[in-house]
Point group: C2
Chain length 157, copies 2
């Protein structure tokens, strides 16, 4: 092996090591990912509560539009990486409520997420264009997509 | 005072009491409000990180659009009630990082929130219509609205 070839190999190895180190540095820890995940559902819950009190009481269209837009953007925001390998168990703000079945090969979480995003998009559309009764109906539909997933994959605590 | 009048007064008082009780039941506790507030900033932070790694590395437009839309919807989502009276101090997921000055009469938090929403909206627009360099520039502009508010109103911990 000549000197030049050795140097090239060493340089390539060094670059690979640096690149792996940079990746390791960038990859968020499971605890942080679970915190983000729990935070996302808190923000969805906050906005759902705002819509609920509006459709069941005095209706403020502007308020409902804001809340529905937030839910729709989050639902379409690509939540998959928040359920990354390594986050099956563990603590974010609190112990994860996700059941192991969500991570299994036959998990229907992808279908549930698609249904959630679809109904959230429709709710945001109706919030801007329709009336309290129609929004209330669609809010119920959205809630059923939440419940379907929670029934299968969220532990009761 | 005749019997009928007494009954009317008592009925009115009872309704007022019930209404106040219902309001008290519906009003979220400061701890819950602080949890929502902290969760909102976690979700903003998560999405900012996604945009940062895209504008500084390999650019995935779809990913940036999703993250920018989430930040824009939240920034325009009416965050004021998350800084309600009674949440100046206290613990959500952790002790609040908000400085008392945010709640003072001369607080500039409203101006900061408006600037944040404006730049977030522009970022979402550019993410959908423009290129990496332009998005990176606007992301920097958005970051400066975050920093301005944090410098004044977020304690370092």
């Amino acid at each position: 092996m000549n000197q030049h070839f050795k140097r090239t190999i060493l340089a390539a190895l060094a670059i690979t090591a640096l690149s792996l180190a940079a990746q390791a540095q960038q990859a968020p820890k499971p605890e942080q990912i679970i915190k983000w995940r729990q935070s996302v559902f808190q923000v969805i819950g906050w906005n759902s509560g705002r819509i609920k009190s509006n459709v069941e009481g005095t209706y403020n269209k502007e308020e409902v539009v804001k809340a529905a837009n937030s839910i729709a953007a989050i639902a379409n925001g690509g939540l998959g990486p928040l359920f990354a390998a390594g986050t099956e168990t563990g603590k974010g703000w609190h112990e994860t409520s996700v059941k192991p079945a969500l991570f299994a090969a036959d998990s229907k979480v992808g279908e549930y997420a698609t249904a959630f995003a679809k109904e959230a998009t429709e709710l945001a559309h109706l919030a801007a264009t329709s009336d309290q009764a129609r929004v209330k109906e669609q809010f119920g539909k959205l809630g059923r997509t939440c419940k379907a997933c929670h029934d299968d994959y969220k532990s009761k605590d």
